[in-house]
Amino acid sequence: MLPSVPALRSPLLTPPVPPLPHPKGRPVTLTAPETPAPPRRAATSPPPRPGAARRAWRTLSPYAYIAPFFTLFAAFGLFPLLYTAFVSLYRVELQTPGDMEWRGLGNYTALFGDSYFWTSLRNTFTIGVLSTVPQLAMALGLAHLLNYRMRGRTFLRTAILLPYATSVAAATLVFAQLFGRDFGLINYALGLIGIDPVDWQTGTLTSQIAVSTIVIWRWTGYNALIYLAGMQSIPDELYEAAAMDGASRWRQFFHVTLPGLRPTIVFTVIVSTIGATQLFGEPLLLEGSVSGGISHQYQTLGLYMYEQGWGFFHLGRAAAIAWVMFLLIVVLVGVNALIARRRSRGERREGSSGTERRRRTGRGTRTPYLSRARRTSRTHTDRTDRTDREEAGR
């Protein structure tokens, strides 16, 4: 562990702020006015300062502007969250919601001895990995390709988002047909190359692959667009410099694009983790079974919560699962953020020492192209830009 360097961080994070001008242009004088004051004012002994209301508004207005969100959040976010916590301490059945029987933490302790809970937790994790990793990898590749200049680029960029715009239900129903054992298109295609039909829904791995495929199909385009936006904020000169140094496309991708995209990647990983933890519609609709297959082989946590709550009507237990899921997401996001912060902090340290070295030698450690670009871009920008882009378009 290297010691942290707070002295280097502070100027970066808090740039000096120029003092704001005083809100009031002129100081109010309390001397008697030349013209007689209106009677209404004269009645009150200390006349209210004309700026007071405005100043109060200035202090309060930000709160007024954000109030609608927080009101709605309290009603539809916070209250259900707390009420769910309350319900999770009781035995409550949907048919008889009036009879609540205190169980304390019984619903939670029961979960830890519940093998279906552990199965669904494991499934959530494996489906999460099976869907997130290929999805983000493919999104990165797609974004890289879409970043090149080519004909119909805008069309392609829009088209890639279309799966995201389809409804989960419709997409899953189509995929359920494709993955059908007896009449499915995928098994038909496998049959053409001599592979026996696969019972996709029954096998543990095969059914999880089927579910992951739907997730990948729907979300790859969305993530690709986010990556694309991230890529466009990487300065062109880095690529120019890399190209001049003779770096191949692959090297450019790994040494310029990836480091530049790190914050974006962290964001997509966090969002995908949350999404994977809450995965529900796809496994529910694959066979229309709340148990996630005959052996719970692709039942996710969300689906198990639904089975307990709306299959068996055990609302208390379902609430306990909901809270465990919530805590799990908080922990996962926390871990994600921690890793990301540690990495970027390490980066910054390395980066700053690199800057110093660059200052001395004119050459950086991690991005050697940067300094070269600074030296060359003044004179060559126009020409290299065009040729580089044209080359990229081919």
């Binding site: 048919q95 890639i160 419709a170 005959i294």
Partner: protein, 434 residues
């Protein structure tokens, strides 16, 4: 290169999207919200049902509207009963969004009488007592609450028979005459033996029956006591009759007699038209389902014979009026009319839902169905309805049955051993009852 690939990918995507759009359009058309109220003597009665009750298809709503000017009937329908029940329970708990008439499956009626009698109208208030004599005694008793409340009026019952494909039987060299078959599969062992003969010469990749889950369900329907005893105690684990049904289902699975389909799944639906199985155990209400799935092409290919192992009952429903309904009196009048013997008889002839009104059973005794090779459905199902045992119902019948059929599917589709599957079922039931 990347352009071409991306373009192709986009083309695939667009194709999928177009397909999705078409699907969405097909699924669209959400039910209208119940219209304002009885303005100027006009009443809109809302009816919320599951599966296929067939009232609309049989033209009964239209007839009722003609008989009662000013009344409009609006029906909403959920295909899967489990989904329907979920949403009904949610709305009962919330107290809003309920229709004037709600359907209740016989597997759920005990939950209504034992747990929710305060949420539904006691139909005695409207004079339902007078109708008691119209219905089979057991049908009436099952919807009666602890204090004698009448919580629903019986619609159909589910007397059981065996449906089979004569064309496939012929190609496998089996007899196709329904009387001869009934003799040869007088017992379930005889049925499985015929199945093994069929498998030896099976045409194409067709199997003897659709799924062992449906085999189990039809066999358990022949029993008086299934999951609970008369005192309401849970007995399923030590019920020898249930174990026998289980063992037969396991035998069918291990001998590879089943098409390994999940009942009510899209694949199961497709298999009706594809001819993936030669027999399917069929309660009366399944006839309409078969017609719907197998379509015109299946007409004349199907026939119906008596069930192996004696008479049984699977399913059947009730119509109830929730306390939160807007037009309770009008709703009661509608369901009293719909469940009257004449209407039940009409419904059976058109849709196949077998009447629970005793008077109607006699009226349809001569009914034949041309779709099923002119099988005497009135006689076959009428005899079954009379001989079927009066079942002991419990509040969690449906959920327990689901766990058991899931475990049987594991034997059928994954080759899990009978003991392992039985212990999985036991664990599943424990989890269900919580």
């Amino acid at each position: 290169m990347p352009i071409a690939r991306a373009a192709r990918r986009t083309a695939v995507r667009l194709g999928a999207l177009a397909l999705t759009g078409a699907l969405l359009a097909a699924c669209g058309g959400s039910p209208d919200s119940p219209s304002a109220d009885s303005a100027g003597g006009k009443v809109t009665i809302t009816v919320d049902l599951f599966g296929s009750f067939g009232y609309k298809e049989a033209g009964l709503y239209e007839e009722y509207e003609k008989l009662h000017p000013g009344v409009t009937i609006k029906q909403t329908d959920t295909e899967d009963e489990a989904d329907y029940w979920k949403s009904l329970q949610t709305r009962l708990a919330g107290g809003g969004g309920l229709a004037d008439v709600q359907g209740v499956e016989v597997g759920r009626i005990a939950s209504v009488t034992q747990q929710q009698s305060d949420r539904f109208e006691d139909l005695r208030t409207y004079g339902a007592d007078r109708l008691k004599g119209q219905f089979a005694e057991a049908k009436w008793a099952a919807a009666t609450g602890r204090n004698g409340e009448v919580l629903g009026l019986g619609t159909d019952v589910g007397p059981e028979a065996m449906c089979y494909r004569t064309d496939l039987f012929r190609r496998a060299g089996l007899p196709t005459d329904r009387e001869e078959l009934a003799r040869r599969w007088a017992t379930w062992d005889g049925y499985l033996e015929l199945g093994r003969q069929y498998k030896a010469k099976a045409p194409g990749r067709s199997a003897w029956l659709d799924s062992v889950g449906s085999l189990y369900s039809i066999m358990i329907g022949q029993q008086k006591e299934r999951y609970y005893d008369a005192s309401g105690k849970l007995i399923w684990e030590n019920n020898p009759a249930l174990r026998e049904a289980w063992d037969h289902a396991v035998e069918a699975a291990e001998d590879g007699l089943s098409a390994r389909l999940d009942q009510w799944s899209p694949q199961w639906n497709q298999a009706f038209a594809g001819g993936s199985f030669a027999t399917i155990p069929c309660p009366a209400w399944m006839l309409g389902y078969i017609k719907g799935q197998a379509g015109e092409a299946g007409k004349g290919a199907w026939d119906i014979a008596r069930l192996p192992g004696g008479a049984g009952n699977w399913g059947g429903s009730y119509l109830s009026v929730p306390k939160a309904a807007k037009h309770k009196k009008e709703a009661y009048e509608l369901i009293a009319w719909l469940t009257a013997p004449e209407q039940q008889a009409k419904l059976f002839r058109k849709q196949g839902n077998f009447p629970s009104a005793t008077g109607a059973i006699d009226q349809v005794a001569d009914a034949k169905d041309p779709y099923f090779s002119d099988a005497p459905i009135g006689r076959i199902f009428g005899e079954a309805a009379k001989a079927a045992p009066v079942q002991v119902l419990g509040p969690h019948d449906q959920n327990i049955a689901q766990q058991i059929t899931n475990a049987l599917s594991e034997v059928e589709r994954k080759g899990v051993s009978s003991e392992q599957a039985w212990s999985n079922a036991r664990k599943g039931v424990e989890n269900t009852l919580g």
